[in-house]
């Protein structure tokens, strides 16, 4: 066996990063080397799992204080936008994000080229929302990892990305696409100009990344997949049944109240944790309910006081290990959370606030695998009913158990590793 070096370049989000860690672990178990190109802010995350890191500058140099100030401003500006409809988020949150994402692609070009020259990988796996010319022109096979919703790869029969529309809402697709293209027109043109300067063809309106000519892996379990007008089939396209990483075991903390009641794990991702007021509202209700709650409040744990006896907060949990022990998961529809819940056979309450969360929430609801609650307009009784219903629904539990067994048997991590090695140099 020839030992291969596979370079991973996940977007600087925990979803993409940790999904790639799972696959990298499988490669390492097979005797190959996996290394990570990463945003400097994520340095240490991959080393924590034993992987070499190659930080790539993706932003103008800033001091820690400047970054902190920028970040506080970003949260302040956009937190109210999470209350908007998917349509109204397009010219606000979504456009701002794309402006910065295109900036990062331009800034990262030269450092990426240098890093790839140093690493000399046999293949590159990119889990991102934008195409980086340096990766596509590195002279080795590249693999597109789609760990967002399947809606990221457009199709006439698939809802537009970030729309939150369902498979039967085809009549509404053109209007949303038009709004999307209008909101992102200027930034899309800027990105296309960058591509043309790198001798890459422009992309159609609304698209920021092409599929790979070599291999595309979609992290979308069978029960949630869409019927496509143009199906995505092997050998270029493969669906993975989740890529759940190995994590630290989870020791249940000492929770003083509600012993022997169902355990509910709550996480809205690290950005979602910034909405402290929403968590406070939820915790006030949770205090009265016969469950134990584990809540990932990210960097905001210090904002909470008088935490009820049946609630445990923390900055971080080894999520897959926690979900394994939970009875129900409340999340924001992030693709990792969706698939970790399915992998362990747990029902979900989904409260999305942006990006692909809208799409995943709708899809889970439509496929009968979870309950979609409006993030802000929910009523207490709706939450109470959802918790009670999902923790006692035996037919759903059986169905989720069968899905879990299929996903575990499929071993998405190992399947991804094999497919990547097959196309590697």
């Amino acid at each position: 066996m020839t030992r291969k070096t596979i370079a991973f370049f996940p977007e600087a989000s925990f979803g993409a990063a940790l999904n790639c860690v799972g696959i990298a672990q499988a490669l390492r178990e097979g005797g190959h080397e996996a290394v990570f190109l990463c945003d400097p802010g994520f340095a240490g995350v991959f080393e924590n799992y034993g992987f070499a890191e190659h930080p790539v500058a993706m932003a103008p140099a800033m001091s820690d204080e400047e970054l902190e100030k920028f970040w506080s401003g970003f949260i302040t500006r956009h937190l109210p936008h999470f209350r908007l409809s998917p349509e109204d988020q397009l010219p606000t949150y979504v456009r701002d994000c794309w402006e910065a994402i295109v900036d990062s692609a331009e800034i990262a070009e030269a450092p990426l080229q240098a890093a790839l020259a140093r690493i000399d990988p046999d293949a590159i796996v990119v889990d991102n929302v934008i195409g980086f010319p340096a990766l596509m022109q590195a002279g080795v096979p590249w693999v597109r990892m789609v760990s967002c919703a399947e809606t990221e790869i457009p199709d006439a029969q698939v809802p537009p990305i970030m729309s939150g529309l369902g498979a039967e809402d085809t009549g509404a697709y053109p209007a949303f696409r038009a709004l999307y293209d209008a909101a992102l027109g200027p930034v899309h043109e800027r990105y296309n100009a960058f591509r043309r300067a790198r001798d890459l063809p422009a992309l159609p309106p609304g698209e920021f990344m092409e599929v790979s000519p070599d291999l595309n892996l979609l992290l979308y379990a069978k029960p949630m997949r869409f019927e496509r007008a143009h199906p995505l089939t092997p050998p270029r396209f493969h669906y993975l049944e989740g890529c759940v990483r190995e994590e630290d075991p989870f020791e249940m903390p000492d929770i003083p109240a509600a012993s022997n009641t169902p355990v509910v794990y709550v996480s809205f991702g690290s950005l979602g944790a910034a909405d402290v007021a929403l968590f406070e509202r939820m915790i006030r209700l949770f205090a009265e309910l016969p469950y134990r709650f584990l809540i990932n409040v990210g960097g905001y744990k210090d904002s909470f006081r008088d935490v009820p006896d049946n609630v445990h907060l923390d900055y971080w949990y080894p999520q897959p290990s926690v979900i394994d022990k939970a009875d129900l998961v409340i999340h924001h529809g992030g693709n990792n959370s969706v698939h970790e819940a399915l992998y362990f056979g747990k029902p979900s309450i989904v409260m999305p606030y942006c990006w692909d969360g809208h799409d995943n929430a709708r899809r889970l609801h439509d496929t009968g695998l979870g309950t979609h609650l409006d993030r802000y307009a929910w009523r207490d009784q709706e939450m109470i009913d959802a918790l009670a219903g999902l923790t006692t629904d035996r037919p759903m539990r059986k169905r989720l158990g069968d899905i879990s067994a299929d996903m575990i048997a499929a071993d998405g991590r190992r399947q991804a590793a094999e497919l990547i090695l097959n196309v590697a140099r």
Partner: protein, 306 residues
């Protein structure tokens, strides 16, 4: 029978506490008569308590030599390992659990604690006294106490780390530092036993205690009593804090290798290098995951904590 068993257990705890207060170290002889005189009881209950402590591994017994302390005493708990926790120790742990879980406010009263935990006033007063002596509580007005500084928030953890950056390397550079070969040997053995075990299997508490005992061991060798005291206090606070969450096995694995590297330097007499390694070790422990990130969020917005 149950009452007698309980009284032997209680006597065993009191013996452990006495040995801890006296600073007894492994190998210290434990004499029956002296204990009987100290506690005002006959040798019979003392003998039973000592047998219990031998069964739980705190003491060892050799014919004609008698009892001696078998292992370092856990500075974080008044209990000897293996003994069922006392009511006071249970209350102590419950208060800490709730403090680190943000369930308790910054101040508390005896009545609040009695009501919340359903415990007698005497027990509450004993625990409050113990926590005050430990620096975990500070006396306020009347029957009120407030929590003392502890690594119970992100900012407090950062301040604690910056304080340790000042004192722990300094302790290694302090003239008169006296390495304790036997103590270091025990630390190495425990570290290596955990490192060779599957990192994902062993209990977190064993890792936390081994890591904290390493820092305590260096404090014990420091000739500067003020530095030593400050390090022991920081170590105790961190130990108690991580019992209640935040420990990361993978980071601890790296930390243990760093500990062994520091011990190598100390035992080679290279104290400046040991101090530099200690500074790097404390800084490495501060590396945190990005506080906030999200799909689509620009990477420019990621605060880095170092």
């Amino acid at each position: 029978m149950e009452r007698r068993r309980k009284s032997h257990t209680e006597l065993a705890r009191r013996i452990v506490e006495l040995l801890r207060v006296e600073g007894a170290e492994p190998g210290t002889k434990v004499a029956e008569q002296r204990l009987a005189d100290s506690f005002g009881v006959s040798r019979t209950p003392i003998r039973k308590a000592l047998r219990l402590l031998t069964e739980t591994g705190s003491l060892s017994y050799a014919p004609r030599q008698g009892y001696s302390l078998a292992r370092p005493l856990d500075s974080a708990s008044a209990d000897a390992p293996g003994l069922p926790p006392s009511e006071e120790d249970q209350l102590f742990q419950a208060i800490l659990r709730d403090r680190f879980a943000n369930r308790l406010g910054d101040t508390l009263s005896v009545n609040d604690l009695m009501q919340r935990y359903g415990t007698a006033r005497t027990t509450v007063m004993h625990v409050v006294a113990r926590m005050t002596e430990d620096g975990l509580l500070e006396r306020g007005h009347g029957q009120n106490w407030r929590f003392g500084p502890a690594p119970d928030s992100l900012s407090a953890m950062e301040e604690s780390a910056r304080f340790r950056e000042l004192i722990e390397p300094a302790a290694l550079r302090e003239p008169g530092f006296a390495p304790d070969t036997a103590l270091f040997s025990d630390i190495r053995r425990r570290h290596q036993a955990l490192l060779t075990d599957e990192v994902l299997q062993s209990e977190m508490r064993a890792w936390i205690d081994a890591g904290a005992d390493f820092h305590d061991a260096l404090a014990a060798c420091c000739a500067n009593r003020f530095l030593a005291r400050a390090i022991r206090q920081q170590t105790r606070l961190r130990r108690l804090s991580t019992y209640h969450g935040g420990a990361n096995r993978r980071r601890m694995r790296d930390a243990f290798h760093e500990h062994l590297g520091i011990l190598d330097a100390v035992e080679a007499g290279e104290m400046d290098r040991a101090a530099d390694l200690m500074l790097a070790h404390i800084r490495a422990a501060q590396t945190q995951r990005p506080r906030v990130s999200n799909r689509g969020v620009p990477p420019i917005a990621r605060p880095i904590r170092r």
